[in-house]
């Protein structure tokens, strides 16, 4: 049974529609990441659930109780902004005890949660004396001891550098799971979302684009935007010429004939996208079809892999990832052949607003 339900929530600020008919549900103990570019309405959504903003339309249900019109303090949902907003004028234990005291809960749970996050030796320190990881644990303990079951995290790790981000996000996930919290974690970092979420919700311009397991949304993005937001893609547009037996032939703009798996109506205008790891670089045209000649225009060495930019035809650039094994396989300026495997193609209907608009982040 869904623990938190959001039903048809809309919210506008004057002419700006921050949320449009947003609906989804979250199970008890689930870790949901809400992913989207800046201005997608992520923070507004979180604040509506917390009760800090009233929606124009729609309902919020927590544990089957309608809380849409309850003030924030009466919902069991704790809101934590970036950096967790530990109260700077209170010691660690006072921070953790805050919700407990305010709500009049038994104080034993304060010490229990301090011990749970392993901060008994820091109980009398002030937040600014703690490391980033310790601050995060204080924030978690504060939520647990306040009796809240839902944790609403608003870009908690965005201010951190990459390594610390990776370290802290796993810890965050681990503690949240062990505490049995239901977490909604807002971020614009797709890697962060994909790596720790049970499910990911992608939001754009106030609308839910897709919700599902990380591997699911990555492998089967519902639209071009989702595909692009979760990782780099090579985009080819074209018109379907024939479709037989779950195979389609597409007349691709700038390339010519392209075979892809999947049946699409003949004559429809489509966009084909490939992930970098799905394209294959060849030194000679050794596949029977879907091979195109191009020129290497850039090579990015990223350690584990090498990302190669190939210009296929005028204005059509493709991005291909290769594992790095001892040496960089291709050099800038070299002529290469790119193979587009039919079974890896992501096929989308041509977006009404045009490709660049469909991919635009804002």
């Amino acid at each position: 049974m869904a623990y938190l339900e959001v039903e048809g929530v809309s919210k506008s600020y004057g002419p700006i529609k921050a949320l449009r008919d947003v609906s989804f549900s979250v199970n008890r103990g689930e870790y949901l990441c809400i992913l989207g570019p800046t201005g997608a309405g992520k923070t507004t959504l979180l604040k509506v659930i917390a009760g800090l903003i009233k929606p124009d339309k729609g309902r919020i249900l927590i544990d089957e109780e309608d809380v849409t019109f309850l003030p924030p303090e009466l919902r069991a949902a704790a809101y934590m902004p970036q950096g967790y907003a530990l109260f700077p004028h209170m010691r660690v234990w006072e921070n953790i005890a805050y919700g407990t005291l305010i709500r009049g809960l038994p104080l034993e749970r304060v010490w229990a949660s301090i011990k749970m996050v392993g901060l008994a030796h820091k109980a009398y320190s002030y937040p600014h004396e703690l490391s980033g990881g310790q601050q995060q644990r204080v924030a978690l303990a504060r939520v647990v001891s306040s009796g809240s079951k839902i944790l609403l995290l608003d870009e908690p790790l965005s201010a951190l550098d990459l390594l610390l981000n990776i370290e802290l996000r796993y810890e965050l996930h681990r503690y949240a799971k062990s505490m049995g919290l239901t977490v909604l974690h807002v971020t614009h970092n797709s890697e962060e979302a994909l790596s720790i979420a049970d499910r990911v919700l992608i939001l754009r311009k106030g609308k839910v684009q897709q919700i599902g397991r990380p591997d699911e949304v990555y492998a089967k993005p519902r639209n071009l935007f989702v595909a692009r937001f979760l990782g780099e893609i090579t985009v080819v547009e074209g018109v379907v010429r024939a479709s037989i037996d779950n195979r389609s032939v597409v007349e691709a703009k700038g390339l010519g004939r392209l075979v892809v798996n999947g049946s699409v109506n003949k004559g429809s205008h489509v966009v084909i996208a490939y992930r970098p790891e799905d394209l294959v670089l060849l030194s000679s045209p050794s596949e029977p079809y879907n091979v195109f000649r191009g020129k290497v225009i850039d090579v990015e060495f990223e350690g584990l892999r090498v990302r190669i930019h190939v210009m296929l035809s005028k204005g059509l650039e493709s991005v291909i990832d290769q594992w790095f094994v001892h040496e960089i396989p291709f050099k800038k300026g070299e002529t290469v052949y790119v193979y587009l495997p039919p079974e890896k193609a992501l096929i989308f209907e041509y977006p009404r607003e045009g490709i660049s608009q469909a991919l635009a982040l804002e």
Partner: protein, 559 residues
């Protein structure tokens, strides 16, 4: 469900009571003169414009006083800018010892009792052993600056009392300015002067302007110190005090309303114009630009040294010198009059001899301390309520702008307004005296405290903490008590100290509303007028030492 009702009711209750107390204690008194003039317009009209015997003599006088006030404040602001901006630069950009002390000195005129300071300035410039006489120049109360026809001493006092506004806003802007802009400019090859003109100046221009506006309004309304150095000339605020004492309420109220309106016209539009939008600046014509840059390039780097020295000299002459002269004079007058050698003219004799000024001064000081404490406490409560209104509601921004007005209302107009509203001639709730002084001081104390509290509210990024606390189970009132107030405590304390000091030294308004409960600042004016110079010296010294102590405490607390 009871708690739900509580939380909503709490919020509404606080916001509404905030609005109500602001209206009653701050805004009604500030704007009452308008309604007074409009209500009694027929009789005001007859008194001012069509007096059966005098005709429009009052109106003609008013125009003359207003003209002097306007000329005075405009020239003052120009000098403030010329001297204040370099000084702000010195305070922010140079690192040296006694930096804090220097900053205190700069801010001193803001907290200093104006009558005491006016008296000290008069001593410093007109006494027979003063600085100008060193150069063989004699300056008196009647010395007038040629062309603009402004009494020189008045100009000096006004500059001294208003330049801190420019220094304060400009140095604030300079501090906020990312140092990287200037570093980048000079690493791209710009001379410091070019950097200042092309990078720094455009960025601090809004603050310079708002500092200038504050200075202008303050100068327009300055009463206490002006009264002491005025001699025979009369500015508009002084005319109000005089007419009020001569019981000519109609012309006093009319002139007061004019002054308030003038301040309004100056303050409100600039507050709204200055905040939003950044316009691009057009380049000067190419040839001129190149020539300017060449000129700036040829300026030796030691220019900065010259600028700093000049700024320091200015500060010394206009702020420090009067203080030193005051101390020197109290030593001089301690046991006997330095000119006649008569014991009757000494501080000791006047204080403890038959005149018994000691008792008078102590009584006035006690009254001052009591009124300052009461008005500050009352203002703190009002300010906290107002703060929530300002931060949480849409009308907050408007209220914040309106709250600038009591800061610049001519103090004598404020005093008149208070007496007409609460006093025997109005609602008849209070007679002139201690409580009316308290209420008067509340009017200008609330904006001071609100301003510092709002500043620390913004600085501490409080909304995110408040939201977090709410979602952890705190009601509106819980948040206020456990999060908001503790986190902005320093802002409130700093504002209160400022308000307290301001209240201690307020002269213009207090003069009108104090009745028999003389406070120390007006007492000095009375002493000067009755030529009890030794006692005036002594009282001024006490007041200035007190405000120095307050400033030190403030620095200690706010850091």
């Amino acid at each position: 469900m009871l708690r739900l009702r509580n939380s909503r009711v709490q919020e509404k209750l606080i916001a509404w009571s905030g609005l109500v107390v602001l209206l009653i204690f701050v805004f009604f008194p500030s704007f009452y003169l308008f309604s007074f003039v409009i209500r009694l317009w027929p009789s005001v009209y007859i008194e001012v414009f069509a007096h059966p015997i005098l005709g429009d003599v009052y109106w003609k006088e008013m125009l003359r006083y207003l003209s002097l006030s306007l000329r005075l404040s405009l020239v003052t602001v120009v000098i403030d800018l010329l001297l204040g901006v370099p000084l702000a630069y010195l305070l922010v950009k140079r690192r040296f010892e006694f930096e804090g002390f220097l900053e205190d000195l700069t801010m001193l005129p803001l907290v200093i009792p104006t009558s005491g300071f006016g008296f000290a300035t008069m001593l410093a410039w007109t006494a027979s052993y003063s600085l100008p006489t060193l150069f063989g120049i004699r300056i008196g109360l009647d010395t007038v600056v040629p062309v603009i026809k402004i009494p020189l001493l008045m100009l000096i006092v006004h500059v001294a009392l208003t330049f801190p506004y420019v220094v304060k806003t400009v140095s604030g802007a300079l501090r906020d300015l990312k140092a990287s802009y200037e570093v980048i400019s000079s690493s791209l090859g710009a001379h410091p002067l070019t950097t200042f003109r092309k990078v720094t100046l455009p960025l601090i221009l809004p603050s310079m302007f708002s500092g200038a506006v504050l200075a202008l309004a303050r100068s327009l309304g300055e009463t206490g110190a002006t009264m002491i150095v005025a001699g025979v000339s009369t500015t508009a605020p002084i005319a109000i005090v005089r007419w009020e004492f001569e019981n000519k309420v109609a012309p006093a109220a009319f002139l007061g309303a004019l002054l308030v309106a003038l301040s309004l016209i100056i303050i409100v539009p600039t507050e709204y114009l200055l905040t939003p939008g950044k316009k691009g600046r057009r380049l000067l014509p190419k040839g001129l630009e190149a020539r300017l840059i060449r000129l700036e390039r040829s300026t030796p780097r030691s220019f900065a040294l010259l600028r700093d020295t000049a700024s320091l000299a200015f500060l010394m002459v206009i702020v420090v010198l009067p203080m030193l002269m005051l101390i020197y004079n109290s030593a001089l007058y301690w046991a006997s009059d330095p000119y006649t050698g008569r014991r009757e003219g000494s501080i000791l004799y006047q204080l403890f001899g038959p005149p018994r000024y000691w008792d008078v001064i102590m009584r006035a000081l006690t009254t001052s301390l009591i009124t300052a404490t009461l008005s500050t406490l009352l203002s703190v409560y009002i300010s906290i309520l107002a703060l929530f209104l300002i931060m949480r509601y849409n009308i907050g921004r408007f209220i914040r702008v309106l709250l600038k007005i009591p800061l610049v209302i001519p103090t004598s107009a404020l005093g008149l307004s208070m007496i007409l509203l609460w006093g025997p001639k109005g609602l008849h709730i209070l007679n002139p005296g201690l409580w009316l002084i308290v209420l008067t001081h509340v009017v200008f104390s609330v904006p001071v405290i609100v301003e510092t509290s709002v500043a620390s509210y913004m600085e501490a990024n409080l909304p995110i903490y408040e939201d977090t606390a709410r979602s952890l189970g705190a009601t509106f009132y819980d948040v206020m008590e456990t999060i908001t107030l503790p986190m902005i405590k320093r802002g409130i304390v700093a504002g209160s100290l400022l308000a307290f000091t301001h209240s201690l030294g307020e002269t213009g308004a207090t003069f009108i509303v104090m009745g028999d409960h003389t406070t120390i600042a007006p007492l000095i004016v009375n002493m000067v007028e009755s030529l009890a110079i030794p006692s005036a010296i002594f009282s001024s010294l006490i007041l200035i030492v007190l405000s120095f102590i307050m400033l030190a405490i403030m620095r200690k607390i706010v850091g």
